[in-house]
Structures are given as structure tokens and as C-alpha cells.
Symmetry: C2
Subunit: 237 residues, 2 copies
Amino acid sequence: MTKKLETFLERLETTNTVDDLSSLADILRDTYDVKNVSYLATNLNGLPFVSSTYDPKWAQHYEEQKYMLIDPVVRGALMQFNPLDWKRLDWSSKRTRAFFNEAVDFGVGQQGYTIPIRGPNGQTAIFAINHDSNDAGWERYIGEHAHDFMLISHYFHQKALAATHTTEPIEGRDLSPRELDVLKYLGIGLSRGKVADILKISEHTLRVYVDSARYKLGALNTTHAVAIALARGVISV
Amino acid sequence: MTKKLETFLERLETTNTVDDLSSLADILRDTYDVKNVSYLATNLNGLPFVSSTYDPKWAQHYEEQKYMLIDPVVRGALMQFNPLDWKRLDWSSKRTRAFFNEAVDFGVGQQGYTIPIRGPNGQTAIFAINHDSNDAGWERYIGEHAHDFMLISHYFHQKALAATHTTEPIEGRDLSPRELDVLKYLGIGLSRGKVADILKISEHTLRVYVDSARYKLGALNTTHAVAIALARGVISV
DNA sequence: TTCTCCCTCCCCTAAAATAGGGAGGGCTGC
DNA sequence: GCAGCCCTCCCTATTTTAGGGGAGGGAGAA
């Protein structure tokens, strides 16, 4: 374990509230000597959460313009499993370049490294560091610290989940095998009749499973039930 | 970086096929000197994938009995973000104890540590190590190697995704803001009419968005479209 | 044993989804 | 300037689903 990581983990032990979390980014920036550090969770208790060292003006502008939806870094990172070096983004689009130029104007560094993190219920987040340096220097820096950042992003998310009380196990009973079957097939787009055929039960019976699954999941309708089951990871598409 | 981790990462560089992956568990067991190492992905290209050092009899029995659905370790790990020490499971259920006794009979160690891993499209996996040792020894061992295992589980999953060609970026055009709005509200269980009211558009217009979203996502129906959008992370519940 | 849950089947009506047609104005990139 | 996509609205028609009832047998746990 590196000394820097050790420093961070010590600080992490006293981090329990949302306010504490907000200062973590600053601490990491100072510890790892980079221009900016940011953590952006898209869905903690249904709300986004940000801790970053970016210029508040940029953060505000970013939120006002709903940049989260078009930010190529966010979009890129959320679509893959591996950390993403900003250099490896698709820079062919004019919009991407325009967005990035604007970011740089607000003090965002030229080099960046973004790590996607995912929790059990669609609690997706990204952890990013960025800096101004040449390509070779950046590559060396990332090579040295990639493991640290991977662990840090994980711990950061862990604390964010805990601070927003998103770690409590989900209430409600488990779905029965039949209910899971039904939701699984409905989730891949099959009609109620088709699913009933596949499961070799009547469509009426099938509906009872949908009903009970809906009840257990607290869902308002079938689509909602499938959505919740997906988010909870009990079925997958 | 520890020497053991270094050894593993070197080996990982020549790991590219599914067959290579199968032997990784053995290598890790020998490197880290534990009784068993296992990696279980629930949904790579729609199929489960396993690499483990468990007795093949146990693996076969496990699969035949569909134990994945009731295994308390799997269920526990998939429901949370943090690694799970098997000692911290809920042992009150008779079924849990019976299951575990059976596992021990097949040579599974008494102590265990399971790390959940999640990819961008519901590609969930768990990485587990287990061993026979007393509580104090196990705690010390985990404390020393937790970081290694966290990184290893990540790299393992990365290779599994790559080997099963599950890393390719998703084809298809992006959804328009309006399409995202519609899917988002449908995903939280609102009816078509309600969503139209909220977005202040006619229900007919709304339907056009659902149609185009469905077309873009290659979805068979509305529920499917919401499911795919969720799985891709473009909306969240 | 009793209680709870699971699985299976059936009736009904109203609402929603699907499928196929249209149309016009606006913005953006090449 | 034009092609392409986005947003908005309209029509008719059929099929499917939603959600409300009710009923019985079986397995497992307290």
C-alpha cells in the first residue's frame, strides 16, 4: 500500500456524513497532487451527488446545462467497465470538442482518467482525476497510481452509499422462482401470451405471478416491476 | 504492489481466451495459498461463466440444483456493494446452514470472502476465496490481502468481459432527450397518460417517442425498451 | 397442526399498447 | 441549402394488458 493511499484511508475513517464526503475530493487533490478530483454519483437515493474540486462556476454551469447527459466522459465511462483515459475518447464529434474546450476554460485539466463504479441497485458513479501535463508524463503518472485510484474510487463510493443510507438491504420478500421467470421473460420483450407458452402455464396463471411480483416489489405496473427487478439485479436483460 | 499481485498480473497479460480464464482460479489459489478461489459471472453474453478450484462434483451439483438462486453467499454479495465475509451472513435460516454444510462436505472451506463486481449491462459477477482457518487467522489474512483481492476481482472480470466479447460498445443511435424523458417516467411506473401530462405533450406525441425509442433500442415493446435503457444505464429507477 | 407461501386455473371490463397511415416547423451539420 | 433528425400533433383499427374478483392443492415452517 502506498503512503498516499494510507493517508487517504486514515482520513476516510472519520468520514461519515455527506458533508465529510464533500471535502474528500479536496483532500485527494492535495494528496495526489493533481489539478482536480471529482466524484459524481448519478443515483444515490434517487438523487445525484457530487464531490469535486472543480470551480463552482463550472459545477453550476454543468448542472444548469444538464451536461451530465452529453458529457462524453460520463457517457463513455458509464458504458464500459474499464477506467477511461480521456485521450481515448472519440474526439471526432464537434460537440465533444466544444464541450471539452468549455471545460478547459473553466479550469478543467487537459488530461483525465475516469473510473466507473457501480452499486447493486443502479447506484452508478464515476470517479475522475485530471491534470495538466504532457502525454508521457500523464501515462507514467496513471501507470503508477491506477491501482490506488481504483481502490479509492471504490472506497469513496462505499462511503457515499453509507452516508446516504443507500446500503441498507432492501426490504420486502424475495421473488419466487416463477415470479423471476415471468419477469425475466417479460424483461426481454416477450408478450404475456408468449411467456405463458414458454413456461407452459396459462396466461391467467402468469398474470398472478406478475401481480404478486408487482406487489412484492412495490411496483405500480408490469413495466415498473421489470424495471425494479432489473435495478435490483434479480433479473438481467 | 505486492509480489503476489505482480505475479498474477504478469500471468494475466497472456490471458485472452475463455480457456485461459478457467485456469486463473487455480493460479490464484496457488499464488495466494488458499483452499479455493472462484469467479462466477451471472450474465456474460446472457450465459453464466464459472472459473473455480472447487471439486467438479460440487460445481456440477451446484449447477444441477440451481444453487445459484439460493446460495446465501451469492445472494448476499449481489445485494450489496462491499465485499462480504461469510461469517457476517445471516446464519439463522436452517436452509442456509444446510446448504453450507453440504458445501463443506464437498471440500469448500469454512472461511470465505466474496467480492461482488458489476459491469455496465447487468454483467454481475462475484469473486470469492475461501480457506480453512480460525477466525483470527482469517481476519488477519483478509486484512493483509483485501486490496489485492479487490483489484484481482476487477481484473478478472475485465478479462472475462473481454474474452466473451462483452466489452464492445453498444451499437445504435443515442436516444433524444424527449425519448429519455418518456422512458424515465415509464420506468418509474407511470401510465402513458400521466407521462404525457407531466411532459405537457399529447399522448399521441408521447407514443411517437416510445416508438422511436423502441426502434432505436431494438426493443420488442415498451417494457423491453425500458429494460434495455435501464441496462444501458441511460435511465435509472 | 395450523399458517403461510407457492403454484395453478378461471371469470370479467376498461385501459393501454401496438400497428398502420398522415402532417408541419425547427435545428444542425456538411 | 439540403439532408437528417427532433419535436409536435392527428386518424383508425386490433390486440394485449391491467386490475378486480374467486378457488383449490401442496410444501414447508413455527
